[in-house]
């Protein structure tokens, strides 16, 4: 960042003051409450809560379903972004607009809509039942709800980068007789990689914490379809704030860790990209 004379533009004190005031009151102070509660636990309590079979199972279910949703969204996100950037077709604008639906639609509404769709009387449920597949009240239901809520991340992070890609290299490769997939793998994807990572990690972090949409379709059976956020609720019902905070805090740290790692990977990838260019 270039060193700039600080006093030319006015309003530094005012704007930073308001920002800091707001950030402290609305974000930092409430979050400190979580860690304050966690602080009331000894390390051994903390370990006992997190290492119990039930908690581990819930984390396993949450993480694996989130991973599945991320996998799904990352690959389809790539496809959707590709189709939106490279092709023209009827209904393109509708498709483009629809991508953001999961952000705009309240998660609870998404939850009841998904369960109405996939239970055994729902449109999809009846269809899948013929193939002897069950989505509602299974692990797949959790993954589905998480997929729904994190669709935009996969598309929207990759899309702008794809728009700004230089087409010369692709065309050159084409004239040299490279196959489409080859071009995509060796020329296009490496450039998308940093944003791809960002999108996937955002989708993953979002999926970890999702509650509203998941709870209706999950079935909530311990060891089978119980997600970590539900365990937080359960600890709250027991008036056990520290334990609830411990699980919530771990979930939060996990999400942050993923984001930080992604940030790191992204930085490395773009540095690599610059070097290569």
């Amino acid at each position: 960042m270039k060193k700039a004379p600080r006093h030319i533009l006015p309003g530094f004190g005012l704007t930073l003051g308001i920002s800091l005031f707001f950030v402290s009151l609305i974000i930092l102070l409430p979050l400190s409450g979580l860690f304050w509660q966690m602080g009331q636990l000894g390390l051994s309590d903390y370990w006992r809560i997190l290492s119990s079979e039930r908690t581990l199972a819930a984390f396993h279910i949450t993480l694996s379903a989130a991973a599945m949703a991320t996998l799904f969204n990352a690959s389809f996100g790539l496809l959707l972004a590709w189709v939106l950037v490279r092709y023209n077709f009827r209904g393109k604008r509708i498709l483009d607009a629809l991508i953001d639906l999961p952000f705009a639609l309240p998660t609870a509404v998404a939850g009841i809509a998904l369960v109405a769709l996939y239970d055994k009387n729902g449109w999809m449920g009846t269809l899948l039942a013929q193939a002897d597949l069950k989505v509602a009240y299974t692990w797949w239901g959790i993954a589905l709800a998480m997929t729904f809520t994190s669709v935009p991340f996969g598309v929207r992070t990759v899309q702008p980068v794809m728009e700004s890609l230089d087409l010369d290299a692709e065309e050159a490769a084409q004239t040299l007789g490279a196959k489409d997939f080859q071009i995509f793998r060796t020329i296009v994807f490496p450039q998308l990689w940093p944003s791809f990572i960002t999108g996937a990690s955002l989708a993953f972090a979002r999926s970890l914490g999702e509650f509203g949409a998941v709870i209706f379709i999950a079935g909530n059976m311990p060891f089978k379809t119980e997600i970590a956020s539900l365990l937080i609720m359960i600890r709250l019902e027991e008036y056990d704030y520290p334990a609830a905070s411990a699980i919530a805090g771990s979930l939060l740290l996990l999400a942050l860790l993923v984001l930080i790692l992604a940030n790191f990977a992204q930085m490395r990838a773009s540095r690599h990209l610059k070097k290569g260019a």
């Binding site: 308001i18 055994k120 009240y137 059976m221 060891f223 609720m233 359960i234 709250l236 334990a243």
Partner: protein, 336 residues
């Protein structure tokens, strides 16, 4: 300028707060209640308002808040200004007495029947013509039966179900604790879906057509039949069940400050009155009032009700043994 701006924000916050003022004579009170009592109190409130007007000449407005009763108790401790509570869990009122003195220490003695104006019991709802021939608790552990009831960890309703099944198993197995554990373990493994609350479980059973048996309060069983068709669903009352009390209390800490002590007490008394008990019974709750009880006698089949105090040593002990993290409930619900 910054200061002014912040002051403006703060002022607007305070002005916007509807509950920050402390009126001398409140024109309204807040009844904080459990999640499935909406229709009941929506019926009682207008009657009480007329009764209060007649008695004192004053107008009163009653606001309702409904959610799971543990969540409600937590909200009150965190500052929800409730004048009175009508819960479905003794422990949720007790915690208000124990933590912060929101209700009187001896709240259970201030009103008749342990401060529970009405009661119910876990009963079964089965589908048309009872296709699986469910009669009693032991039918529920059969391999071909799928159950729906909410998660005992998040729903008070389901804690009654769990304890009722446990009490039944103890009684039929000469108080053999190991056998009783095995019994509830099988029962829990027959559960098709765990919802977080009683109404969610009903939706799963009725609208999503999951499971063969829904276990919930008898009152709720009848309400569901009234709503979804008396012919399509059958009520089954088991031979033994657990007394489910619906405790009420004035939140004195709040009511004293707001000057609503009298009206809040009058409200609770009204639930005990003949008129109040009539309404309560019309929603299929069992009542104590002799005349009302006689009037609705044929509506409620005889059932032997076990008290938590008799088998489990009281609610606090039941909670510590069974529902606490790592308690019996967690132990029997092991990974298969």
């Amino acid at each position: 300028m910054k200061k002014n701006f912040l002051a403006a924000i703060a002022t607007s916050f305070i002005l916007a707060s509807p509950l920050s003022s402390h009126a001398e004579e409140p024109a309204e009170i807040l009844n904080v209640s459990y999640d499935i009592a909406r229709e009941l109190y929506a019926t009682i409130n207008p009657q009480f308002i007329a009764h209060w007007k007649e008695k004192t000449g004053k107008d009163i407005k009653i606001k309702q808040s409904h959610a799971g009763s543990s969540k409600q108790a937590r909200a009150i401790m965190q500052g929800l200004k409730a004048d009175l509570v009508t819960f479905n869990q003794v422990l949720d009122v007790q915690i208000l007495a124990d933590r912060g003195g929101f209700v009187a220490k001896d709240w259970q003695k201030t009103l008749a029947n342990n401060a529970s104006p009405y009661f119910s019991l876990p009963a079964f709802l089965v589908r048309k013509d009872n296709p699986k021939a469910i009669k009693d608790w032991n039918d529920l552990i059969r391999d071909d039966v799928k159950l729906v009831f909410p998660n005992p960890k998040t729903s008070g309703n389901a804690r009654y179900t769990y304890l009722a099944a446990y009490a039944y198993a103890l009684e039929t197995n000469n108080n053999d604790d190991a056998k009783a554990r095995e019994f509830v373990g099988k029962l829990l493994n027959n559960v098709a879906v765990f919802d977080t609350g009683g109404r969610g479980a009903t939706t799963s059973f009725v609208e999503r057509e999951i499971g063969d048996v829904l276990i919930t309060f008898e009152a709720e069983v009848e309400n569901i039949r009234a709503k979804y068709g008396k012919d399509d669903y059958v009520r089954v009352v088991p031979s033994i069940s657990l007394l489910a009390e619906f405790p009420v209390a004035v939140v004195e800490k709040v009511a004293k400050k707001r000057g609503s002590l009298d009206v809040s007490k009058a409200y609770l008394d009204y639930i005990y009155s003949q008129e109040g008990q009539e309404i309560v019974a019309s929603f299929n709750n069992r009542v104590h009032h002799p005349q009302v009880k006689a009037k609705y006698a044929d509506k409620f089949p005889d059932v032997r009700l076990i008290r938590v105090e008799d088998v489990f040593g009281g609610w606090q002990q039941a909670k510590d043994t069974h529902f606490k993290e790592g308690g019996t409930l967690d132990q029997v619900f092991t990974k298969k």
